[in-house]
């Protein structure tokens, strides 16, 4: 796959395109996400939101978007945030595919099969008990399809807006340490992907100026948080959020380590993704 971007990592071509900030495209986006338009007061004057009018857009927040999303394709900050998310979902879905293949005793390069029934657990727990090994494998399967669906959803949404979606890294992706053929090792490699995904979405959220997009991004972010908890518990870890080195806090004085989610700046996430996972 050709890489048109001088950075060598993000090859989505920028072209003149209508802004995503339009009612028509947002409705498409919502429909793609299975999100009820009635639930999105922003679009629908006859929505289920019967109370005071929704606000028309988001104000305030950081103004360093150009720095944070440097190298990410997009004509507007909203488009860049979506392509930032897509960049991560491409990476995440590819590594899930690899992990599922490893856990299923299949060649690591196999594409994700459309039928989940072809996948059967072929590795041991590696120290996890039987219940955690089984639930961990179920999560691996379910989440592999979910991350793949997130990727396709974002590609469709960005394309529907007449914009070029970010492309896969031409060299592909790898785990920093190749997982051993056991569920503990595989899930241990998966967990940082999810935890970073949570921090990435929360870090990118205040750059969005559009309430509809914020709701969509939040809806994907929420699943990453659920995945993080489920994988953590399978590994015998606390459901979290558990602070990690480099974590930033939204609330200045967090009163408990698991009271609020942590976040990372978008550029920190991109640098870490490239360093740790890009071939």
């Amino acid at each position: 796959m050709a890489d048109e971007n001088s950075s060598g990592f993000f090859s989505g071509q920028t072209k003149s395109s209508p802004s995503l900030h339009s009612r028509r495209n947002l409705m498409r986006l919502a429909a793609l996400g299975g999100i009820s338009l009635a639930g999105m007061r922003f679009f629908s004057p006859k929505s289920a939101f019967a109370a005071s009018p929704a606000s028309s857009g988001l104000t305030g927040g950081s103004t360093d978007g150009a720095t944070q999303f440097a190298g990410i394709p997009g004509d507007t900050i909203n488009e860049q945030v979506l392509n930032f998310a897509l960049t991560l979902e491409i990476l995440e879905s590819d590594l899930y595919r690899q992990a599922l293949n490893i856990a299923s005793g299949l060649p690591v390069d196999n594409a994700l099969n459309i039928n989940p029934k072809v996948y059967q657990l072929k590795v041991g727990g590696g120290g996890l008990n039987a219940a955690s090994t089984q639930s961990g494998y179920l999560y691996l399967k379910q989440f592999a399809y979910v991350e793949s669906a997130h990727r396709e959803f974002l590609i469709a949404a960005i394309t529907a807006a007449g914009f070029a979606p970010a492309q896969k890294n031409p060299g592909g992706y790898k785990f920093p340490t190749k997982p051993q053929t056991d569920m503990k090792s595989i899930l241990t490699q998966i967990l940082p992907l999810e935890e970073t995904g949570v921090r990435a979405y929360l870090g990118a959220l205040p750059y969005l100026t559009d309430l509809g997009l914020a709701q969509v991004a939040g809806s994907i972010y929420s699943t990453e948080a659920r995945h993080s908890a489920a994988v953590s518990i399978s590994l015998g870890l606390h459901a979290g959020p558990t602070p990690e080195p480099g974590d930033l806090t939204v609330v200045p004085n967090p009163v408990g380590t698991n009271t609020f989610e942590y976040y990372l700046q978008p550029r920190t996430v991109v640098a870490a993704a490239v360093k740790n996972y890009f071939v």
Partner: protein
């Protein structure tokens, strides 16, 4: 009595924060009562005696009930402090806890957390500033973790087959994306628990 989003005081960010506070108050009290029910019992804020089941925190449900109860209380305290004099008054809640089985208690917690997770997303269109969007997000993610945790615990204890997260069409879902729940849908669902 709280029935619709119209009844939540304030406008814009303040209204959303008060809505969040009302839900956090409910969750916090639910965890208090649920913890009593599964452990050594006690009296809820209505003065109703809740007999305990004498389970302890070697059980995952009891352990996380305590952990997440503390988190929800801190969310509530944080929001109440942030709102100051604009904060909604606290309510009292009757969950009929004294009559619930262990499974019914866990199902109720799962439902409350799942509703809270969708509720934050459903409130996003009412926000005005990015600061509160990110704060709401920082809370919402924990609700999502709580939901997944209790789905997993219920599956382990009762083999319910609950999904820990939204699934794709291969597993009978949509795009594996969380579904926002509009405020009035949420409030209709929880109003029955509010007694004062």
């Amino acid at each position: 009595m709280l029935f619709t989003f119209d009844d939540i005081p304030g406008t814009g960010d303040i209204k959303v924060l008060n809505y969040a506070l009302a839900l956090e108050d409910l969750e916090s009290d639910l965890y208090d009562q649920a913890f009593m029910r599964l452990t050594v019992g006690g009296k809820n804020k209505l003065g109703i005696q809740i007999p305990g089941m004498n389970l302890n925190d070697s059980q995952a449900d009891v352990y996380y009930m305590y952990q997440f109860g503390v988190v929800e209380t801190r969310h509530s305290q944080f929001l109440r402090a942030a709102l100051g004099s604009a904060a909604i008054s606290p309510f009292k809640y009757n969950f009929n806890m004294q009559n619930l089985s262990r499974k019914q208690v866990l199902d109720l917690i799962y439902t409350a957390e799942s509703t809270g997770t969708g509720a934050y997303l459903g409130a996003i269109p009412y926000l005005e500033t990015k600061t509160y969007l990110q704060i709401a997000g920082a809370i919402q993610g924990t609700e999502a973790r709580h939901t997944a945790t209790f789905a997993g615990i219920i599956d382990q204890l009762f083999n319910e087959g609950l999904n820990v997260a939204p699934v794709t069409k291969q597993y009978g879902g949509n795009n594996g994306i969380e579904v926002p729940i509009p405020p009035n849908t949420v409030l209709k669902a929880v109003s029955g628990f509010i007694v004062a």
